[in-house]
């Protein structure tokens, strides 16, 4: 996986005005937690919708017209073409406005942008997914992708946590995955409630206890920065090499295409060269600003 290899960048209708979003229609809204929502949506124009392709790990710019634009990963899997999904947390101007939208409303969508999870590299490997909170969104695209191509991969372990049971996202997925005997799905919360029957503990600690073997394994990690910072040392302890740890970074990516300037870490632009990086690559970046 080479960060600066831009030949792998997926281009979508790359001629003409790249800043002009496509109109998309919200088809379903799922209230994941009190502050996190998932939209199921589709691009309105038939031709554009049919031509549209993306890979797990890529992101897009979403507009609430008149309010603004913000970047989120595509949280559905490219193996499922019925609609696209995006999950977002209500934290700022655009997400607050997104939270006010209803089924049938239109949003702007442009993308997909950025690189993808290294699908060829993951093939034939054991996979460990480590996610916290809304950090499951990009991983979920990859997890469904893996499930839909299950024969291509070896053992799959999913470790997912949130601060409390009501803050777990994608509960419907978790139920499916826990039923699937080809997956080892461990769900944990930082603090339980009286009716919580599952694990209690921080994600890195639960990862350490689960202790997946590092042999022929790749760990894919996504969550709040604090979780990521504590997860890498645990993986290191378990014998994972930096090349075996993959994450996806979040920055204030305004243009999404490497022009506007603000998402760089050294000479790497997260929107253009990322957002997916191996820990080996991140360690080599000229900055502690990831």
């Amino acid at each position: 996986m080479v960060v600066r290899d831009i030949s792998q960048r997926k281009r979508f209708l790359n001629s003409g005005n790249v800043y002009l979003p496509h109109i998309a229609v919200i088809e379903k809204i799922i209230e994941e937690t009190p502050t996190i929502r998932t939209f199921h949506f589709n691009i309105k124009d038939d031709k554009v919708r049919e031509q549209f392709t993306f890979e797990s790990g890529q992101f897009a710019e979403y507009s609430v017209f008149g309010v603004g634009e913000a970047p989120f990963c595509i949280s559905s899997s490219p193996t499922r073409k019925d609609h696209l999904e995006v999950a977002f947390q209500k934290v700022g101007r655009v997400t607050n406005a997104m939270n006010r939208l209803a089924v049938g409303d239109e949003i702007g969508f442009r993308g997909p942008y950025g690189n993808t999870f290294p699908m060829d590299y993951l093939k034939g490997k054991n996979l460990v997914f480590v996610a916290g909170g809304i950090g499951m969104a990009p991983l979920r695209s990859l997890i469904w992708n893996v499930i839909d191509n299950r024969a291509k991969y070896e053992k799959v372990t999913i470790i997912y946590g949130a601060r409390s049971p009501d803050l777990l996202c994608f509960k419907y997925d978790l139920t499916d995955w826990q039923k699937d005997s080809s997956l080892n799905t461990v769900v944990t919360v930082d603090r339980g409630t009286p009716d919580w029957k599952g694990n209690v503990g921080f994600v890195p600690a639960v990862l350490e206890k689960t202790a997946p073997s590092a042999n022929n394994t790749v760990a894919v990690v996504c969550g709040p920065p604090i979780m990521i910072r504590f997860t890498f040392p645990v993986l290191d302890k378990l014998g994972f090499k930096p090349e075996q740890m993959i994450t996806t970074l979040e920055k204030r990516m305004k243009c999404g295409i490497g022009k506007c300037g603000r998402c760089n870490i050294g000479d790497v632009f997260v929107c253009r060269d990322g957002p997916v990086f191996s820990y080996a690559e991140i360690k080599g970046l000229a900055s502690s600003e990831y």
Binding site: I23, G66, E69, P224, K254, G258, G261, N264, I265, D267
Partner: protein
């Protein structure tokens, strides 16, 4: 080569005004390229360089990207700016700066707004005769009185201006212009002499080779960056007035059912520039100062093999606290081990 009497420049600009929107330096509150008024060429006497760089003509401080109309559903309407601009009096540093912005805006996805204006624009250069004390263009391989980054180049030879075509676009422009006379060998010799004299007037220097060796090793020297950042007030003057700074923000506006998307200049000195709702990777001032210096002299060259600075000196002269990038670049503490 051609030439024209300075007193006839207004006739030439008037001719051009028939076909182009002609911009020239003016000082209505601030020196910048403004729509030429059809007569005034007195700027030839006082003009050193604009305060607001000519990037403003191609990447304006704010521009509408598209209108957002709502009927049964949303409809986005782009009004392309196809104005044929002719900018007269562009300095070699600023012309090179536009060439540098081109590199980023052409790479990968094309920025149609900017590139469309560039395509429709003509740059008519005017060689410097009295560079400012803050200028250091020569250290960045830019000649203050010569340019390959313009379409046509003018040079002051006393009572007259020597005119050289640089690009095909420039050639066409001159071919369609009347009132020009042929320059003599003596004129050209005069221009050569004047250019050499101007070159020598640029006394501020930086050592780009040394800087290249030192920037990366100095990157993690937090103490150093904290020291050089101390007096920076985090305003946007150095970036907004920089002819090569192209970073921008995108903002929507709506009122009374009308909405539109705009873009406007943004600045890495502002703490909000990288702010996300939950965190900010460059909240601290020294990180922002480090980013500014490194983007120009380290990261941009790593990606595009050119330094994103043309030594125009605006950031030094206009800085409220005299934060001088040439001083900073000459005090980088670390050097790569041999």
């Amino acid at each position: 080569m051609k030439k024209i009497k300075k007193s006839d420049l207004n006739k030439l600009l008037s001719q051009w005004q028939q076909k182009y929107s002609v911009f020239a330096p003016s000082n209505h509150g601030v020196v910048k390229m403004t729509a030429w008024d059809g007569k005034d060429t007195t700027f030839l006497d006082w003009y050193r360089n604009t305060v607001v760089p000519p990037k403003n003509n191609f990447l304006p401080g704010m521009e509408k990207m598209f209108d957002i109309k709502k009927d049964a559903g949303y409809k986005l309407e782009v009004t392309a700016d196809d104005t044929k601009q002719l900018i007269f009096g562009v300095r070699p540093c600023d012309a090179r700066a536009l060439a540098l912005i081109d590199v980023n805006f052409k790479d990968g996805y094309e920025d149609t707004y900017y590139l469309n204006r560039r395509k429709n624009g003509l740059l008519v250069g005017l060689g410097c005769t009295s560079p400012c004390a803050s200028c250091f263009c020569t250290s960045l391989n830019i000649h203050p009185a010569e340019s390959q980054d313009v379409d046509v180049m003018f040079n002051d030879i006393g009572e007259e201006l020597l005119i050289a075509e640089v690009t095909d676009k420039g050639k066409e422009l001159l071919a369609a212009s009347s009132g020009l006379s042929d320059a003599t060998a003596a004129d050209e010799a005069k221009a050569k002499e004047a250019k050499e004299a101007t070159f020598k007037k640029v006394t501020r220097k930086i050592n780009t080779g040394e800087i290249k060796e030192r920037l990366m090793p100095s990157f993690e020297n937090e103490e150093y960056w904290k020291n050089v950042a101390a007096k920076c007030v985090s305003c946007g003057i150095c970036t907004f007035l920089c002819p090569t700074c192209y970073c921008f923000d995108i903002n929507d506006e709506q009122s009374k059912g009308e909405a539109a998307r705009f873009r406007n200049w943004d600045c890495c000195s502002f703490a909000v520039y990288t702010k996300m709702p939950m965190e900010n990777p460059r909240e601290e001032k020294w990180r922002r100062v480090r980013q500014k210096v490194n983007h120009k002299y380290n990261f941009f060259p790593m990606i595009y093999e050119q330094i994103a600075c043309t030594g125009c000196g605006r950031c030094i002269r206009q800085c409220p606290v005299n934060w001088d990038i040439t001083q900073v670049l000459s005090t980088l503490p670390e050097k790569a081990k041999a």
